[in-house]
Symmetry: C2
């Protein structure tokens, strides 16, 4: 891994805390970098040095001050999020010095935590950063959110929004493995080139420069059977018009709506849901948690077989975490956005 294992924990940890509930697109000043003493671990606890932090779209929904599927992060709280770290002190027999683990300790460079709250990783199987991406929450989201909710059949047409992101790029590849025609929507020509040339999507378009309806009509001549939506808004409105009878819509994200100060109105979609007999379902990936091992096994095999690839967009430096988060919300990443601490 190229990292030495320090023999001792520092006296203090750095933490990013929520300074203000963001209005619109978050600003770096919505977070403050603070310090906290790193207390000595109790029996059953470990001290971790953070190696990678994850920044993900869902985090925007956690800092609105409003309860959704979970209590909000309050002003003054340490920012939440998935992380990978290395054990630098252990008072639990299950974890040894130097072991890598993943967990949910948020934006902190060191942390003392229960050994039971983290999962041990095997760096021989895959780079440990993948526990935050293709073999972690985004991978689970793509696997279950697409296969379980869309129930794709070979030959069907699948559209994915946010197609170059951590989740969308995997959904499109899984859809290809299932024998579907796959069209991706993303926010730059380079992203479209990437998903078509590198990931094997059948087509795609840059929503920032395209007529949605014209592109969908051209790229989906048989209509759309499955739509995996990361984005929402006007793009999704256009997709609904091309859904086939008995189409399935997996509502994974609505990133276009997250930074709006007020909800924006749109055309009512239920008349289409009715006449085309669509099934539209939202999900939070944790509902599938008991089946994660199955998905990790299957995705690992697809990677080994060369059927599925993944890309990581790694930002260096703990202090750049808020900036990376904001860049991710603006779609500046291709693949999984990570911070290497």
């Amino acid at each position: 891994m190229g990292m030495s294992v320090p023999s001792q924990a520092p006296a203090i940890a750095r933490q990013f805390r929520l300074a203000a509930v963001p209005v619109g697109l978050p600003k770096e000043s919505d977070f403050t970098l603070g310090q906290a003493p790193l207390v000595a671990p109790q029996p059953g606890e470990v001290v971790l040095r953070t190696a990678f932090l994850s920044v993900d779209p869902y985090m925007r929904g956690r800092i609105t001050g409003i309860r959704t599927y979970a209590d909000p992060v309050k002003v003054g709280d340490v920012m939440v999020g998935g992380a990978v770290g290395q054990v630098i002190e252990s008072r639990d027999p299950a974890l040894q010095l130097g072991d890598f683990v993943s967990g949910y300790w948020g934006w902190q460079d060191y942390v003392v935590t229960s050994a039971r709250a983290v999962q041990k990783l095997d760096p021989k199987i895959a780079p440990v950063s993948t526990a935050l991406g293709v073999l972690g929450m985004p991978g689970m989201t793509a696997y279950f959110g697409f296969l379980e909710i869309c129930q794709p059949k070979p030959g069907e047409t699948v559209v994915v929004s946010g197609a170059a992101g951590a989740v969308g790029s995997l959904v499109g590849q899984i859809a290809k493995i299932q024998g579907c025609r796959v069209v991706g929507i993303a926010g730059s020509d380079e992203k479209i080139r990437h998903i078509v040339d590198d990931l094997g999507f059948d087509g795609g378009f840059n929503y920032k420069t395209s007529d949605y309806a014209a592109q969908l009509k051209e790229l989906c001549p048989k209509g759309i059977d499955c739509y995996f939506d990361n984005v929402g808004g006007a793009l999704t409105d256009a997709v609904f018009l091309w859904m086939n009878p008995f189409g399935r819509v997996s509502v994974c994200g609505q990133i276009s709506q997250y930074n709006l100060p007020k909800p924006e109105p749109g055309p009512r979609l239920l008349p289409y849901v009715l006449t085309r007999q669509l099934k539209v379902e939202g999900f939070i990936v944790t509902r599938f948690q008991y089946r994660y091992p199955q998905a990790i096994g299957q995705i690992s095999r697809w990677i080994q077989e060369g059927k599925l690839s993944y890309r990581e967009h790694i930002v260096q430096g703990f202090e750049n975490t808020p900036h990376a988060f904001i860049d991710m919300l603006e779609g500046k990443n291709t693949g999984k956005m990570l911070v290497q601490v």
Copy 2:
């Protein structure tokens, strides 16, 4: 039945044809009453005298000039719809003079049709008019659209819009049989009295005079698990805000939207679908056609056991069919609206 069986068919039949694609709420002048010669039946055919015609909300969607789940009724075509009639001449051994049948011959007072295109009814089991209501399309819609799509569990809270109509009144009663708490929404105080006092709903409110949010909060203190939607629009927007995690929405109708000259915008609902992990599904009842006998048997038993009752709103006179249709679209009926010819 109080009807004698005439020994001979008339020379002509009366028919209502679509005169114009309605703009907004249909007018009587959107239909013309015409005549057509009643040709002699061929082998395998029967001559029917219409006893009852059905007027239903879905018919508004069939006369928009636009293909939805079926080709539209075109200007000049005989208006479609379910009907019950009596055989007055038969050239098929399966049907005898005086037999009652149901079929889909539309707004005609007499018709010559293939015996295979109609279903024989047994007037001893139930009044023949029920083949257009509780034991017909509306009954099937309530039974499958609620049980299959909402998958209700005992103790859950169910909300039904259009609760005093042919479908909604049955959905609420079926939900009570399943052990649910049931709240109905309808368009008059008398309808609310009817569904609560006569049909056993736990509560309800008149959407024309109520604050939706306040009523839903009061009547659904544990939130809403299942929503059976006949109406759509602002009422449905309000219901979505009270849906519980893993709630199910059965999109049966959107009658508030059918007469709008232009689609109206509304708040985007997908963010709620996402964070509450809702499942929203539209359906056209014919997808369950192969299972109708099961539902007819079950509903008949519930009626015999006194667990389910139904009401018919019968308008007299073939010539009043367009008027009855318009009244039904305006919600002037309680229970199933029928025309007795």
